[in-house]
């Protein structure tokens, strides 16, 4: 039997198929492109070509779009990304004590002691130092995001870039370009700035003890990884499946949940990828809360409903 994990993030939607021994058999890394429902459906369609419905024993979802994904695919475990990343790393290597996770729009630090999350922090309102910022700079400098790491590694004299704020960082980068600095040095400096920003903002006051695990989409960037290693003075482990660790964690959580209670999965089947799902948004005027209610419908049937505080539009009682 297999377990399916879905992580719907701001930039990417990842799906993982895992077996009973917590081994990843298949992984998908899709761009969310602002349409999480389509991304989840696309993922289900792709996996449906390889796997049968009755092979899936449980489904877990995580990420900022976790409730949406749960409504589309039918999920057993719906968990936040901090728990999912923590569990994924602890399952991957029980000796990991610090997790650095940098995703599309948020960055986190999670501290594990004996495999249990003991503390965490997430970036506040600013997105400086996250994947979206790198994406934007890559686009502006006219290169693929995948090439950036290589440039940073080739830097001989990384310039100093102000990394506190994405807007100031960008103008500083432009300024350094106008001075004639090489692309390598600029990108190297930018990597350092992002790491500095991360360590003084998100990881402020947290005790970073090896083994340190670096995951999330940005972990693919070898320049950032090296800058982290230099600042922390220890080796940084990047798991093979670093991009899909959230989805992996969700799958592990689903396995735990199903295994604990010997439950039957709520999975709707890979056909859900072909459902015609429509969303309806309206402002409820029945009380002073004025909730912006979102209702998901598939073939005339309501499959999910969000943001109603009083719960009166909820029809299915799927609990998380």
């Amino acid at each position: 039997m297999y377990y399916l994990g879905i992580d719907v993030g701001s930039v990417s939607t990842d799906l993982v198929i895992m077996d009973e021994e917590n081994k990843i058999l298949d992984q998908l890394y899709l761009k969310t492109k602002g349409n999480p429902i389509e991304a989840v459906k696309d993922g289900l369609r792709q996996l449906g070509r390889k796997y049968q419905n009755d092979e899936i024993a449980g489904v877990g979802t995580t990420g900022s779009g976790r409730t949406l994904a749960a409504a589309v695919a039918g999920a057993d475990a719906v968990k936040n990304e901090i728990t999912a990343h923590g569990v994924a790393a602890a399952t991957f290597d029980p000796e990991i004590r610090t997790i650095i996770e940098i995703g599309g729009q948020d960055s986190k630090i999670i501290l594990l002691r004996d495999g249990v999350i003991t503390d965490f922090a997430m970036n506040t309102v600013c997105a400086a130092g996250t994947g979206s910022f790198l994406d934007r700079q890559a686009e502006r400098l006219g290169m693929e995001i995948g090439e950036m790491g290589g440039y940073a590694l080739r830097a001989e004299n990384p310039v100093r870039i102000a990394g506190r704020c994405a807007v100031f960082a960008e103008s500083d980068i432009i300024h350094k370009q106008q001075l004639g600095c090489t692309m390598e040095d600029i990108i190297g400096g930018m990597s350092k700035a992002l790491v500095r920003n991360y360590l003084s903002n998100v990881a402020k006051g947290k005790e970073i003890i090896p083994k340190v695990c670096f995951q999330g989409g940005v972990a693919a960037n070898s320049g950032i990884r090296r800058a982290l290693e230099e600042s922390l003075g220890c080796e940084i482990l990047v798991p093979e499946y670093h991009k899909v660790m959230g989805a992996y964690g969700a799958a592990v959580l689903a396995r735990e949940l199903i295994g604990e209670g010997n439950k039957k999965t709520r999975f709707k089947g890979f056909e859900a990828g072909y459902d015609d799902i429509r969303t309806e948004t309206f402002e409820c005027a029945d009380c002073s809360n004025h909730c912006e209610v979102v209702i998901l419908r598939s073939g005339g049937k309501q499959i999910g409903c969000f943001s109603d505080r009083c719960g009166k539009y909820q029809t299915n009682t799927a609990d998380s």
Partner: protein
Amino acid sequence: MKITFPHIGDAHLIGRIFFSEIGIEIVTPGANTLKGLETGSGVSPDEICIPFKLMVANLMEAYRLGADTVIMPATMGPCRLGEYGELLKSILDSRGYPFQWILLDSFEAIGKRELLRRLTHVVSDSDKGKAQILRALLETYQVIKALERLDQRAHILAGYERSKGDCKKEVAACRRELGDASGIREAVRIIRNHLDRLEKVELDYDKKPLQLLLTGEIFSMIEPFANHHIEELLMDMGVSFEKRVTLGWWIRRTVINPFQSKDWFGRRNRYLPYSIGGYAKETVEEGVICSRKGYDGIIQVFPVGCMPEIVAKAVFARMMREKKLSVLTVIYDEMGGEAGYITRIEAFVDMLERRKRERTKQEKAKKEGKKSVLPGY
């Protein structure tokens, strides 16, 4: 004279009952909404905290509804809130909302006689005698206490309820009915009725829910809009929690027992022995209580820019190291999206739950002489 005052939790619910008892009509602005916050931000200084922006919006709306007099419990000085009355007045005056203002400060600040004069001014329209008004005031305090008790019980029982949402529904139903209550007596009856029904909610005593302490800046604690309805969120998550900072708490501290003589010894703390403004000292004391009474964790809530609570946060960081406390600080901002807050609170609850489960498992394993090897716990 048509009286109004800004929203803070149930103040309007209770204020309406009190003033109708003594024959005065009050104007209730609509509940706080995002739209109101936008209006408020538009006329307020940018760096000022959310409570101020919400209050400005409330008063502007009340003016349009016909109010002409504002009662503002300013309690001179504990934080910027002490100056709020004055600042609100000058902003609203310049924007063309000429209210008459009755600022209720504590008697240390303005003197007994002045306070009495202002209080008499508030009730000058009432046709009831002094004794009757005083009695209504005392009875209203009983209503506040009863409602507080209902909330308190609901927060604790929410962790044990068998069918999710029972406690939350009871509290919501009570508030709805209170909105139509005709007088104090009926209000007390309604609250008692719901308290009875709350005690009859089916419970599962085998559950071992987390015990959390919710604390932080006073406005955010009392006004649900300012904390994104964190109480409902926690109740939905099946957590048992306690919130001691309430309207009644404030009344007890400032009106009834301003020197806190009774619990002087119980509340001393070596982390922050002096009042530094706001309720930072009190928040730290909550932390001390938390570590003493064995709560699983603290959630501290405050709006962006609240200086006293930032100091309390720094003290919490030290207490986390020394006392092994778990503290989550949630800072609410008008710019922040809701998803981020929910993720943080959920992750915090998850973390504590997993740790608790692991601890009981280890204790069990110790008894049986085995070591737990499950990864991820």
